[in-house]
Symmetry: C2
Subunit: 157 residues, 2 copies
């Protein structure tokens, strides 16, 4: 079904299918600047094959918990028109790894709070670490607390 064009260009439908996202999502990502396309004579989008990698990076970033904005910032450091060099790629992976590591530490702290609470029956407030994380600043913007936190952490190690 996916046409193999001589120039390695993919239609939006094929790209979406192979990347596991919907067609409107692909258009949305393009509009957001995450990916780019050329057009056929008939005004249809054509995507270079390595767009698949960019979309995979987007999906990975989302699994990390990053916003599209942050992912875009990361992708901006990768070339839009060719495959990244190993050096470029390593740079990005390392930053993301740091973000993931940080998030894991947060969750581990939360988990030991929960474990502590299970055993201690500390229902009194005031002693319980779950109830007094200490690192939770009061005033932040709108949206999910979790996402805000994950986002704030990204790309500023």
């Amino acid at each position: 079904m996916p046409h193999i064009t001589p120039l390695e260009l993919l239609s939006i439908g094929d790209l979406a299918r192979r990347a596991g996202v919907s067609v409107p999502t692909v258009r949305y990502y393009e509009q957001r600047g995450l990916i780019q396309s050329s057009r056929t004579a008939g005004n249809k989008r054509q995507f270079p094959r390595h767009t698949l990698r960019r979309l995979a990076v987007v999906a990975a970033g989302q699994r990390v918990g990053l916003t599209l904005q942050s992912i875009n910032d990361a992708l901006a450091e990768l070339p839009a028109d060719r495959a990244p060099t190993q050096r470029e790629w390593r740079h990005m992976s390392q930053i993301w790894a740091v973000t993931v590591a940080r998030r894991i530490r947060q969750l581990e702290a939360l988990q030991s709070s929960l474990d502590g609470c299970i055993g201690c029956g500390c229902l009194s407030l005031g002693k319980c670490t779950l109830f007094n994380p200490g690192d939770e600043a009061a005033a932040e913007g709108p949206g999910s607390r979790w996402l805000r936190r994950a986002d704030a952490v990204a790309f500023m190690p």
Copy 2:
């Protein structure tokens, strides 16, 4: 500043301040059914002191990455009018701990993918585990992939 009433009732302002959320947020949570209040003669909300714990649980749930809906489900198992027993509390903590543990495992898998990619220079797609998580189903609903996933996982261990 926080008035100590004989009946241990808090005004919305005091509650918000002590819980570290905004006043409209408290009203929003009440509207969502996460907390409850009585009213004074002058129609002002009065919250029992243990509402602080419920709000702390909400904050903890958000750090886990749960939606208010899921948190609400969890809170529904705790009594609205009194402090939870140790048994009730343990039940909830254990379920949440499972959720957190699962999420940590997911992030660890992602991290080892990233680590692998850093070293291997596998920019080819097709071999890289980062690009082929395998556990990432294609079609889901709207919203953040991450949140959807975290939510789907909650309370169905």
